[in-house]
């Protein structure tokens, strides 16, 4: 029960932060009531999805300091489990999604055990390697549609279908993912105050010292990696029902993995608000850049050039991310 109390306890944040958070939460809840374009709605849904991806990544990557660049494989596991189960056996989302999470978590334990013997950039490259291996396998595996992927045709079902998560209007998807979004925040809030959360932060601080305080570093990392995986897989399942068209190149590519990591890194890894801030900057930026610039013939790629440039800028100037800057300023003011 203390876990629940912890999840809802935001009292250690300054009042200003909580007020802003409340305003944003209110905005998110009422957004569909404002006049908006379909494009804006789609961007908002993407924002919520990537916030969740980022929050999950943040547990192992931010609090734990283990830079994982292979999360896309779990998006795939979640998405494909849901898609396959729906298409072949008509299994609803609310059943296939947890099953997908189980598969993802099991896989994360299997590769996590050897994976976490590595550190630093060796670890990062290894995470990329495992994700690419899985993607390549999916690209030749007939059962999941190989490179062509899978398609969920909404015609077969009668939307709005709450069991299978098939809707005609985006607004349903919006509120479903918003619900998960709030749950995610509560979970991370619990995590950062929990024993595992503290262990991870101690590990990030200095692994040897952490060990001398009784922490089983290897195991703590694996457990947290599994948590991050569960987050990612959940959103992956949602992705399948929302986009209705999944293929390895789209869902499991390295670009997705980097994007996920970037949410937290830009916004501030190791903080609760970081991934959300990161997503709020990156997702609209990516969407609107693509809209305005990418579509113009002869300028393909310029949106991503700017995008790459921003990543370069942030890493060189303020690697702690936006929230890192905020905290730095606050500490200085306190002195």
């Amino acid at each position: 029960m203390e876990a629940l109390r912890n999840a809802f306890d935001f009292s250690d944040f300054p009042r200003l932060d909580l007020t802003i958070a409340a305003v944003v939460a209110l905005f998110l809840l009422t957004f569909p009531a404002f006049p908006h374009s379909a494009f804006a709605m789609a961007t908002m849904i993407q924002f919520l999805m990537f916030s969740l991806y980022g929050m999950g990544w943040n547990t192992i990557g931010g609090y734990g300091g283990q830079v994982d660049l292979g999360k896309a494989q779990y998006v795939g596991i979640g998405a494909y489990t849901t898609a396959v189960m729906l298409i072949r056996w008509d299994i609803p989302f609310w059943v296939s999604m947890p099953i997908g999470m189980c598969f993802a978590v099991i896989w994360s334990f299997i590769i996590g055990y050897p994976l976490f013997r590595l550190k630093g950039h060796y670890f990062a490259i290894a995470t990329i390697a495992t994700s690419l291996v899985l993607k390549d396998l999916f690209e030749v595996w007939g059962f999941v549609g190989a490179a062509m992927g899978l398609e969920i045709s909404p015609i077969k079902y009668s939307p709005p279908d709450f069991l299978r998560l098939i809707f005609k209007e985006d607004i349903y998807y919006y509120y479903v993912i918003l619900g998960f979004f709030f749950l995610g925040i509560l979970y991370v809030n619990w995590f950062r105050r929990s024993r595992l959360g503290f262990q991870l932060r101690a590990i990030k601080n200095n692994e040897e010292v952490a060990r001398s305080l009784g922490i089983n570093v290897h195991w703590a990392k694996i457990k947290t990696y599994a948590i991050a995986t569960a987050f990612v897989s959940l959103v992956g399942s949602f992705h399948a029902c929302y986009i209705k068209n999944i293929e390895p190149e789209d869902t499991m590519s390295l670009d997705i993995s980097i994007l996920i990591a970037l949410m937290a890194m830009l916004g501030g890894a190791g903080s609760l608000w970081g991934p959300i801030i990161g997503a709020s900057v990156l997702i609209p930026l990516k969407s609107y850049l693509k809209e305005w610039l990418g579509a113009q013939a002869g300028l393909i790629g310029i949106d991503l050039i700017i995008y790459g440039g921003i990543i370069m800028l942030v890493s060189a100037v303020e690697p702690r991310g936006i929230w890192g800057i905020v905290e730095k300023v606050r500490r200085r003011k306190r002195r």
Binding site: E2, V209, I215
Partner: protein, 248 residues
Amino acid sequence: MALLEVHSLHKDFGGLKANDDISFNMEEGELMGLIGPNGAGKTTLFNCIAGLHPVTSGQIIFGGHDITKFTAHEVARLGLARTFQVYVASGDLTVVENVMVGCFMRTRASSQAKARAEQILKDFKLLDLSDYLLIELPVAAQKRVTMATAVGTAPKMLLLDEVAAGLNPSEIEEIMATIRHIHNDLEITVMLIEHVMELVMKISDRLIVLDSGRKIAEGTPNNVAKDTNVIKAYLGERYVQEHAAELA
């Protein structure tokens, strides 16, 4: 039964014999100093006992358990804690959070960990520094925080690695008081590596002296100070010869 027994400990690094046939016992409630010139193998000995290095041969028994092959976190969980002399930290944890990490070894509940951490900080007179990051504190305070963190694990024994290094005299007094508090009030057995002689001579019940990997003396501070082998190790053969008369 002794709390800590070290039997014929050998630790080789390639060709270098960092610890050469070291044996000693420590009783519960003792405060033992580990001294010796630089490079004598003191920190290596700590690291072997604390499970950081695998030993080349020998045996370590703590509280009746054979911990020779234990890893660092297993040793800690058994009740043997330690501090580090220098380490690089990414510095995200505040003082109270640091101590809470230690406390989390004994409890799963964060409210309990926090309460205990605050109690320890109050004890160590560090409570008003709770929300500072370690790097924002002066060195002496940092050291006391790391000691408080180790105490958070409720250890039976604590290994302190050069906690007085780089401190000025009044800070040394402060650290000495902290060590006395840990030893006398919290009833934790303490072994400390020290170079600051005024501290270790004053505070230890017993001393062990290492030189070039071997134990060359053991005894009360008074006896050890007069031991010619010890003087030789620190000041050299010639000094002993030249001052033979006064040392007799």
